[in-house]
Amino acid sequence: MTVSISIQESDFDLASELVALRSCSSKAGALVSFVGLVRDFSNDGKIENIYLEHYPGMTEKALDKIIHEATARWNLLGARVIHRIGTLRPNDQIVLVATAAQHRGEAFAACEFIIDYLKTAAPFWKKEQTGQGAQWLETRDSDVQRMEHWRSQAEGKAT
């Protein structure tokens, strides 16, 4: 199992990340990736840019824990997470979650689990700058609900 986590200001290249992840195991039959982007709209209007900060030290620990929980649930061969920080503009890439597994079902599920879990448990903060001013975003209820869905699934399995 190969795990790689990066928190960085610089952009990433999806193709080269997938080539690297693919080489983690010749047993891999599936690669799944999710890329999160900066939208150009919000409730307050058109977004000029967003600013992302994080809690150095805790972020890496939290992401490591998230990936290990995914590994405990699914038979993963590799996982790659990149999260960008600093100032980003609409259409920029923010986050990459990529998973490798023997079969697609596990790769798909683990990828979705990791990004859902990241949204509710990794210490990042996003500030949107629009024409109306700047606004710190907060955890969305829909993200919390998605995470609760994964939790209830785990409890269902256990009983």
């Binding site: 809690y55 620990k61 999260h83 986050v95 448990a121 903060w125 710190w136 907060e138 955890t139």
Partner: protein, 84 residues
Amino acid sequence: MKIELLYFGRPGERLNISRETADVPAGLSTLAALLAWLRLRGEKWEHELTDDRVRCAINQEFSGLAANIKEHDEIAIFSPISGG
């Protein structure tokens, strides 16, 4: 009792502080009591650090406001997270 305080997100920006070493009263034993003590610093602090607006971590683990704090803990105070 000396503790390390870190601030992120909205409270960090609004209070214009990212970290400090605070010397808190010895009897202060929970995160809730720490926040109440910090709110005494003035109107801005009172406004930014209400129990429902902030979240906390003790030694890099998310912790509820009833959690206990002790000397030399690293305590982070922040707005609800919003990554991804």
